[in-house]
Amino acid sequence: MNILSIHRVNKSFEAIHAVRDLSFDVEKGQTFGLLGPNGAGKTTTIRMVMQILLPDSGDIQIFGKKLEPALTDRIGYLPEERGLYRKMKVLDAVAFFGELKGMPRTRALEESRRWLKKLDLTEWTDRKLEELSKGMQQKVQFICTVLHGPELLVLDEPFSGLDPVNVNMLKDVMLELKQDGATIIFSTHQMEQVERLCDAICLIHRGENVLSGSLSAVKGKFGKNRIQMRYDGAATFLKDRNLVSGFDDYGKYVEIRPAANATPQEILKRAVRDVNVTHFEIAEPSLNEIFIQLVQPKGGKP
């Protein structure tokens, strides 16, 4: 069953056509990555799903129903730009957002305490939000998103601005909620996370769907023809156009797109003459590479 179904949606702001004929589906229980460069239309799409903006044309369905205000109570939303009532006490603020999602006050308070404990914030319960560090405020904001036990989580750039410890914690909570049956949609441009977390993706570029589907299907489309190599030394062979049609070099690690007639064996033979190879793998292209390939303006770097 599709939890979210977006069909040929358009949205313009004055001169900017932010979302253009966008369609994609999210299945129940999926973790779904909404990818795209800055200004691609991810946040606009998410805001339309949350009924903050209305689409100019097209059709959005959630839980198999047309959009209506009551449905937002079943969704947990973490906006890209975080913000809370700075002068309110932590517990009051969290419980308020729970109540606003339709929870009875007593249950909202109970759940708030449970979540604050879970995320190590118990001692901050009666402090004002402005006294909390930025990382703690982000955690509180996340609690506001999940407090009411939503069936669908919509997270706009959930990992941005978090330290590694909090990224890990957030990831664990997301997995836990997923195991409990929640569907998670999140936008990001950190491809590593998408690769590890997502079941399916949609890549948006200039408001259009340029690539979507399950992660394996998406990768399959690009074939298993990449070489990932770790090495020490000066990799001069990368300049050899007969062997290598394109590469992404990090100095000790390189992703190679082989030339049309070159086999991986030939490339490896040539490479060991130049450098000390510590790792050599034939793999699918990484999501990062696919992303750059699709999004980069035509005629740019290889």
Binding site: R47, I52, P69, T72, G83, Y85, M88
Partner: protein, 428 residues
């Protein structure tokens, strides 16, 4: 619970719980008390002890009359004389040395003032007043009155007229003012009624701006702190607007309620005290505030609050930061200011067609209809029509502001111009 109610509760509680609110609510009555009591106390402190005044009477015939005048009229509330007149050396040939001598005495504090009444005072109409503080115009006026009364009295008697007769013949005529209401005529002090209406009008004027700014700041704060996006994903713009306007309104009413109670207590207590201590206060015509004026004051204050809260909220939805408030408050403030100035024109002719039409325009109604009701009996149908129009305007304005809010709220960066904002109302 209904989402609007949850929002109202939060808006109200977060404001009522602040220290600023507590201080403002409790401190204002203390200030009011000080302002009513302090001037009286100060007057007593200052007027304590009579002023010693030396008189250089170069005419040689004013001094006795001045002394009679002082003992007759210049007394304070308890009946003690205000001035003690001391005759000084009145020889015109040693005038300069006399002045030097008196100057020294003023400087040493043995004298408060000295007067030089020249021999030709009857022709020139001028005398000289020397004091350390010539800016105390209350004393200056009082001494002026004294000398000029005495001079004219002597003039009259020298020309063979009886001063008492002349005084009786010259007595000014004054009107007693009666207000004609539904229940016949009632004596009332015109000035006091005007002053009272003016004060109440001024109060509405200030309160509308004050609480309007609160609403505006509230909206802008939600925008700049970005809370608004979560709110919008949980509640409708109209519910958020309603929460803001009613929540802040409730907090305001609590505050004004406390103040109102204090005013009522202070004035009733104050009047009782005044009547006990001063027989003069017995005859003071107390401006009668009818129940209708009080009710219409409350009614039009509340209507006005909602009208302007919606206007201020709409202006707030356009802005992004505190600094935008300066510019955005003007469109909202202009009609309040205008109605405050129109109030004077309307008080002159509360029945005229101009007054009637203006007072029915919802943006002006809160102040102008109230002014008309308090100054004059307004036909019931007009009052009802006005209330109806105001309610319509409130619904319309909240609708409009919710629309501006919905679009303006997510716009960060360039602040839209007023025409752009108007365009938002039409689309969405």
């Amino acid at each position: 619970m209904n989402k609007s109610l949850i929002l109202i509760k939060r808006e109200c509680l977060t404001r009522v719980r602040t220290k600023g609110f507590l201080i403002g609510t409790l401190l204002a009555p203390v200030l009011m008390l000080l302002m009513t009591v302090l001037p009286g106390l100060l007057m007593n402190v200052v007027s304590e002890g009579e002023q010693t005044i030396a008189v250089v009477d170069l005419t040689g015939r004013l001094m006795p009359a001045l002394e009679t005048y002082v003992s007759d009229t210049k007394k304070d509330v308890q009946g003690k004389p205000l001035y003690k007149l001391v005759p000084a050396e009145s020889n015109p040939r040693v005038l300069d040395t006399t002045k030097i001598h008196l100057n020294r005495q003023v400087r040493q504090g043995r004298l408060n003032v000295f007067l030089v009444l020249p021999g030709d005072i009857f022709e020139t109409n001028r005398f000289e007043l020397y004091a350390k503080n010539t800016g105390n115009f209350q004393v200056n006026e009082s001494l002026n009155d004294m000398v000029s009364a005495v001079v004219s009295k002597i003039r009259l008697s020298e020309s063979g007229l009886d001063p008492e007769l002349v005084k009786r013949l010259n007595k000014r005529v004054r009107a007693s003012t009666f207000k004609i209401g539904e229940n016949g005529a009632k004596e009332e002090s015109g000035e006091l009624t005007f002053a009272l209406n003016y004060m109440l009008g001024l109060f509405i004027y200030m309160a509308l701006i004050f609480y309007g700014m609160f609403v505006m700041r509230g909206v802008i704060e939600d925008k700049s702190s970005r809370v608004i996006e979560i709110l919008l994903s949980s509640a409708r713009p109209r519910q958020i607007m309603t929460g803001k306007i009613f929540g802040i309104g409730l907090a305001g009413l609590i505050q004004i309620g406390v103040w109102g109670l204090c005013i009522i207590l202070l004035t009733t207590y104050g009047l009782v005290m005044a009547k006990q201590f001063s027989p003069a206060a017995q005859n003071l015509p107390i401006p009668s505030i009818s129940v209708w004026v009080v009710l219409s004051f409350i009614l039009f204050f509340i209507l006005g609050y909602f009208i302007y809260a919606a206007v201020y909220a709409a202006m707030g939805s356009i802005g992004n930061s505190e600094s935008d408030m300066q510019n955005l408050q003007w469109p909202a403030m202009a009609p309040i200011l205008m109605s405050f100035f129109l109030m004077f024109a309307i008080q002159k002719n509360p029945d005229g067609p101009l007054a009637t039409v203006l007072s029915l325009i919802p943006l002006f109604s809160p102040i102008l209809m109230f002014t008309r009701i308090s100054a004059h009996a307004v036909p019931l149908w007009q009052v009802l029509l006005c209330i109806g129009l105001c309610l319509l305007a409130i619904a319309g304005l909240i609708w409009i502001s919710a629309r501006i809010f919905r679009i303006g709220i997510l716009m960060v960066g360039k602040r839209p111009t007023l025409p752009e904002a108007l365009k938002w109302i039409r689309k969405t």
